[in-house]
Assembly symmetry: C2
Homo-oligomer: 651 residues x 2
C-alpha cells in the first residue's frame, strides 16, 4: 500500500532549512547565522484510526527510537507485526535527539500517509507532514532528493604559479580534485569572478587539502577555480540541483532580453534548493525579503509551489516568535504578505490553515513593537533594512508602515479564507493608513517622506513604491508620486536589483511598460555586458572593473548570483505576456498582452497545472490556454479562452 | 590560564536531561517521554571584554562550527592566534545542529570563564554556563563526568535452563557478558527481583544478542541477571555513578533504622545522576514531584547543590512553557516551591536570578488555567496527579489549590530576594487562601474536602497534609486536621513512600516524632524484611509475594528503586538530629534534637560547606558545628554553637 515517511507538520522543512543555513563559510571559517535557529520537535506521537480491508502484516521503520502501539499494545520497529481485518487505532511514539523524528510503515494493508495526525497543545488534530518523494523504507527524509550531474571545466590556463579553471558559468555542486600527489599541499580558491579565484588572499571560499590523491569538497557555488600545488590535477564538478521543469518561457526580437531572461531563470534555479536561498557562493541563507520577491519569479517561471511552501515554513520556523525573520522587521511583514500571495498563486487553503497560528504569533510580536502612534518601530536587536540605500531611518520609518499596513490587510484576507474574525487586522489597517497619511504625507513634495521625526523631510523611492504596490496611496496621491518620485531624477536611484523589482512592478502597475523595457535593456544589460552568467546582488553602472565585486567592505563579498535580481521573469510574464490571476490559485485569470517596444513577444506563463501561451506581434495575437478559467483582454474587450484552443487575431 | 568549556546558560543541563529522558526502554523497545522535550539553542554567540596582561597567544576549540572575532576580526578555531597586551573584545559565533554548542579557549593570557556572556532577546547580558569539571581542550561537555567501578556477581545458579546471577544489591551500570561463543544466541533478562529476571516473558528490561564473543550492554539498573543460551558466560558490571561524599549520617540503637537509612541513602545515590532520576530500572526519567522531595533528602544526605540545580533546570527546560512539567499540574507547582527551597538551602541568588524569567512564564501558564473562582484546573492534556490514591478529582481539586497557594507564596519570596514587585503573587496567595477556605473547608468534618463540585465531600489526607506543611490552615483548622484526618484511621492510608514523605513531614511539624519512628520501623521495615536493597515506588503491607512487584497492570512494572521513598534521611536529620536552616543558605541554623523512642542517636547534617554533628542519649547531648551560625535549642533555651567546638551536656 502507498506509504510515505511522516513527520510533525513543518519539521522536515525546518530541519532542511537549518542544514541550509548552517553551511555558510567565509575565508575558511564556518559562519553561523546571527538569528535564532529553532529546531524540530524532538519527540513526537503520530496517531491514526484505520479500517483495514484484509488480514495482513506491517513493518515499521523509524528515523529515531520508539515503538508503535496498535489497539493499546506496544510493538517494536523493524519486526513483522500481524494485523487483522477491521478497525484499529495506531500510535507511533518516537524520539530523535539529533535528527528528524520520522516514521514509515511498510505493509500491503496499511500505510503512513496524510490520514495520520499529531495533537497540538490544545489537543487539536494536526495532519502529519510528508513528501511525495519519500515512499520507501530506505528513503531518508534527512537527505534532500536532489538530482546530480557531472560537468567539466571548459578551459584551464596556467597563471600565477597555479592553474585557473573556468567552468563556463556559475554553478553549484561538489568539486572533485583528482589525480593529485598525496604529498602535495593543494590550495583551492573558488571564484564567481576570475579575479576572485586568482586572488588567493581575498577569495571568499577557499580550502587547503593534503594527504589524499583525490578529494570531493563541500558543496559550493563557483565559476572559476584556481589551484596551486598541483598542476596536473583533474577537476570536475558534480552539480546538485532540483529537477524542475520551466513551464514559463519568454522569447522576443531583442536577443539581449532573451539572454537576460535565461540568466534570470538560471539564477533563480541555482537558488531554488531545499528552500529559496540567496547568494549561493557566500551565505546561501534563507532571507525573508529576498524570498518574498523570488516567490513571484518562481510563480512565473515554474510555479514551483513546493519550494515556496518549504521556504515559508523555514522562514517562520517554530514558536516562540521572539525575533523578526532574519531579525529584519520588513522581512517579517513580507512573510505575511507573501503568505497571502502564496494562496493567491496556488489556492492552497490547507497550508494557510496549518500555518495560520504562526502568522498570528508573528503579528502579535509586531504589535508589541508599536509606538504610541501605532507605528511599528525597531526595538533592541531589530534590523530595519528596506534596501541598501540612503534612507533616513530616524524613528518610525514610512516604508515599514507601508508594509505593516499591507501585512494587516493580508491578515484580513487570510482570516477571510479561514472564516476567522478579521476585525483586529482590518481596523488596524484603516487606522494605520490614516496615521501614515497624517504623519508621512508631505503635500508640498507630493510624496511620502522617510521619517517625520528627523525633520529632514527626506524622500526616497521606497515608501512611495510600496504605497502604489499595496494600494495605500489614493488616486490623487498616486498621481503625485508618479510625477514627483517615480519620474523625478532628483530622487536617488535604486541600485539593487532587489528594489528594482519593486520599482518596476510599480511601473508596470501604472502602465509604463516602456520604462520596464528600458530598464531591462540598460540595467540588466549592464551586468550581461560585464560577463555575468547570473544576476548580481547589487549593480552600480557608475563603477568599473573588479570594483563591481566588492561589497560590505570586502573585495569579493558581493554575491554574483542573487535570486532577488530575477524580476524580469515576473515583469515580462506579468506586464508583457500580461498573465495574472483574478481568483485564488488562478482559478480565474486574465491575459492582457502588451507589445510595447518589442517587435514580437512569445512565451508561456504557468497557470494551475497547465500554462497559457501568448504570441504577440504588430500583426498577430495568439493566445492558447490549456486550462479553463482564462479571459483575454484585448483592446477593451473580453474573450473567454476555451481550454486547449487557440484564440487568434490578425492585427 | 584557568579556562572552562562554556555554553548558553542552562543548555548543558537541558542537553543531559534529554539524554537521560531518552534512555527508557521496555520489553526491548525504546520508550520516549510523553511530554514535550525542548532542545538546546542551536546557534549561540559568546561575548567578553577582557584586559590582557601581556602579549600572548590563544587557541579556540569548538564543539560545533564557527569562528572567533577579536576586535572585529574573524579567526578560525584550532589555529594559534596572537593577542596583544591590553583591552580586547571577543565574540565566539558558533552553531551545532546535533549537540551542545560550546567553546573553550586555551591560552596563557585569556580563558573562557564566567566573565563571558550571551545576550538575551532584550539585549540583556546573561552569564554563560560552565562546569568546574570541563577545564581542558579534550574535555567533552557532551559526556557527563561519571565515575566508574567494576563489580562481579556474588552468586550464580543454574535455573530453568539458564543461569541466574545475583549482584547482591540493586546497581546501575553497564553489564559485560564475556567469554561466549559468537554463534550462541544469548538472551539476557534483567531483574530488580529474582522473579523478574527469571520471568523471561515479562521482565521489563531484556536484550537478545548474537554474533560476538563479548558484549558491553547499555547502561541499566538491575540486581539479578538471567541468561539463557550460554552457561559459561563471564559477567561483570561497570558501575556508573557520581562520586559524591555523604556528609550527612545517622546511627542509632535501632539496627533496622540504621539499615533503612543506608538503604535510603543508597537509593538516592543510585538516582542522583546527570539529574535526579526516578525508577532507575524502568523510566529513569526526571519527574518534578519526585525530584522536589528528593531535593530535601539530598540536602540532608550530601547537600549536593549541583545535582539539584541541574534537575531544576532540566525540569523547567526552555521556552515556551506550553505544557506542565511532565504534563502534571502539581509538578509545575512543586517546581516553583522547590526553587525557593533550593535558595533556602543553598543561598544561591545568582541561580534564582538567572532562572527567574522561566518561573514567571510557568506561573503565567498556570494563571491561564484558572477558573472563575481563581482555582487552577486541568485543561486538555494536563495530568492532576497528587498521588497514586483514591482521590475525588472532580473539577477543581483542593490539593492542587494548596500547592498553588504555596507556589504563589514562593514566588513572593523569590521576588523579594530579587527586589522585584511581588504584589501579583501576594494578592493571589491571600485571595486563593480565602477561596479555598470558602469552598473546600468542611466544618462538620473538620477537614478540607477533595472536591466541592462532586458533592461527595470526600476527605483524603493529601490536601490536609499540604495545608499543614505550607501553613495554609490556621491554628484552629490545624487542630481539627490533626484530629480528624491525620489520626483518623477511617481516612484512607497513604501507600506510596512519596506521600508518606509529606505525611511524616507534617507529623514532624506537629511534633509527633513517635509517629515517624513507628512508621519507619513498620512501613520501611516492611520493605527491608522483604529483602529490599533500595526503596520501592509503592509498598502495600497488605499484599504478599511477587504481587509486590506488579504495578500499572504489569507483573514487574513497579520500580524497586525510587528516590521518592528516601524521606527517612530527611526526617531523621530534620526531626531527630533536629537541624534546620533559619536564614537563606543556612547562614543561620538551629539544632533542636529529639530522642523520642531512641536510646541514642548520632549523626551529622550538612550545613553550608561544613556540617553539624549531633549525639544524643538519655545521658548525654553533644553538638559540634564546623561552621558559624548555629544555635542549639535545648529545653527551651538557646545556646550559640561556636565554630569547631563541642557543646556538651550531661543529662
Amino acid at each position: 500500500m502507498k506509504s510515505y515517511w511522516i513527520w510533525n507538520w513543518g519539521d522536515w522543512e525546518v530541519f532542511h532549512t537549518n542544514l541550509v543555513n548552517s553551511r555558510r563559510e567565509q575565508y575558511g571559517m564556518d559562519y553561523p547565522p546571527f538569528w535564532k535557529m529553532y529546531d524540530v520537535d524532538r519527540n513526537v506521537t503520530f496517531f491514526a484510526e484505520k479500517e483495514i480491508a484484509a488480514d495482513g502484516e506491517l513493518k515499521m521503520y523509524l528515523n529515531g527510537k520508539g515503538y508503535i502501539k496498535i489497539d493499546g499494545i506496544m510493538y517494536p520497529d523493524r519486526k513483522m507485526i500481524k494485523v487483522k481485518k477491521g478497525k484499529h487505532s495506531f500510535q507511533i511514539h518516537l524520539m530523535n535527539l539529533k535528527g528528524l523524528p520520522s516514521a514509515y510503515i511498510e505493509s500491503e494493508v496499511i500505510g503512513t500517509d496524510g490520514e495520520w495526525f499529531t495533537l497540538d497543545s490544545m489537543g487539536k488534530r494536526v495532519q502529519v507532514g510528508f513528501d511525495e518523494r519519500y515512499t520507501a523504507p530506505e528513503s531518508d527524509p534527512e537527505k534532500f532528493p536532489f538530482s546530480y550531474e557531472t560537468v567539466f571545466p571548459v578551459s584551464a590556463e596556467n597563471r600565477n604559479g597555479g592553474v585557473l579553471y573556468d567552468f563556463g558559468k556559475e554553478l553549484f555542486g561538489f568539486l572533485y580534485v583528482e589525480n593529485v600527489d598525496p604529498k602535495c599541499k593543494i590550495h583551492i580558491s573558488y571564484g564567481e569572478s576570475r579575479e576572485e579565484a586568482l586572488d588567493t588572499d581575498f577569495s571568499v571560499v577557499r580550502e587547503d587539502v593534503f594527504g589524499k590523491s583525490a578529494y570531493r569538497l563541500r558543496q559550493r557555488a563557483f565559476r572559476y577555480i584556481f589551484i596551486t600545488g598541483s598542476e596536473k590535477a583533474r577537476l570536475l564538478a558534480e552539480l546538485e540541483y532540483q529537477k524542475i521543469e520551466n513551464i514559463g518561457s519568454f522569447r522576443c526580437d531583442n536577443e539581449d532580453i532573451n539572454k537576460i531572461w535565461d540568466m534570470c531563470a538560471y539564477t533563480l534555479k541555482l537558488n531554488m534548493r531545499e528552500v529559496l536561498t540567496e547568494a549561493v557562493k557566500r551565505d546561501r541563507w534563507l532571507w525573508g525579503g529576498d524570498a518574498y520577491q523570488a516567490f513571484r519569479f518562481i510563480k512565473y517561471l515554474c510555479a514551483d509551489k513546493e519550494t515556496t511552501r518549504r521556504s515559508l515554513i523555514g522562514l517562520r520556523s517554530k514558536e516562540p516568535f521572539c525575533e523578526h525573520i532574519n531579525t529584519i522587521t520588513d522581512y517579517s511583514l513580507f512573510w505575511v504578505i507573501g503568505l497571502l500571495e502564496y494562496y493567491e498563486n496556488y489556492g492552497d487553503a490547507d497550508f494557510i490553515r496549518a500555518i495560520y497560528p504562526r502568522a498570528v504569533t508573528l503579528m502579535n510580536f509586531c504589535k508589541e513593537r508599536e509606538d504610541e502612534n501605532g507605528f511599528i518601530r525597531a526595538r533592541s536587536g531589530d534590523w530595519i533594512f528596506i534596501d541598501w540605500s540612503d534612507i533616513d531611518k530616524t524613528g518610525a520609518l514610512c516604508a515599514e508602515q507601508m508594509l505593516y499596513i499591507a501585512a494587516n490587510k493580508a491578515m484580513c484576507e487570510i482570516c477571510g479564507i479561514l472564516g476567522k474574525d478579521k476585525t483586529e487586522y482590518s481596523e488596524k489597517a484603516v487606522k494605520l493608513t490614516e496615521s501614515v497619511n497624517d504623519f508621512f504625507w508631505n503635500s508640498e513634495k507630493g510624496a511620502y517622506i522617510d521619517s517625520f521625526e528627523s525633520g529632514k523631510n527626506n524622500v526616497t523611492r521606497h515608501a512611495n513604491i510600496f504605497a502604489i504596490l499595496y494600494d495605500i496611496a489614493d488616486k490623487k496621491q498616486r498621481g503625485e508620486i508618479v510625477k514627483h518620485v517615480l519620474y523625478n531624477d532628483g530622487i536617488t536611484k535604486i541600485t539593487t536589483p532587489y528594489f528594482k523589482g519593486y520599482e518596476l512592478d510599480a511601473m508596470g502597475k501604472i502602465g509604463d511598460t516602456d520604462y520596464i523595457y528600458d530598464m531591462i535593456t540598460s540595467y540588466w544589460k549592464g551586468m550581461l555586458d560585464l560577463g555575468a552568467t547570473t544576476v548580481w546582488e547589487e549593480y552600480n553602472p557608475e563603477i568599473s572593473g573588479a570594483a563591481h565585486y566588492a561589497m560590505y567592505g570586502d573585495k569579493y563579498q558581493k554575491s554574483l548570483c542573487h535570486a532577488w535580481g530575477a524580476s524580469p521573469i515576473y515583469l515580462l510574464g506579468r506586464y508583457f505576456l500580461g498573465v495574472y490571476g483574478t481568483d485564488r490559485g488562478y482559478k480565474a485569470f486574465k491575459v492582457c498582452p502588451t507589445l510595447g517596444r518589442f517587435k514580437f513577444i512569445e512565451g508561456a506563463v504557468p497557470v494551475r497545472d497547465g500554462k497559457v501561451y501568448v504570441y504577440l506581434s504588430a500583426k498577430r495575437l495568439c493566445v492558447r490556454s490549456d486550462v479553463e478559467g482564462g479571459v483575454l483582454l484585448w483592446k477593451g474587450k473580453e474573450y473567454k479562452l476555451p481550454c486547449g484552443e487557440s484564440v487568434e487575431f490578425n492585427l
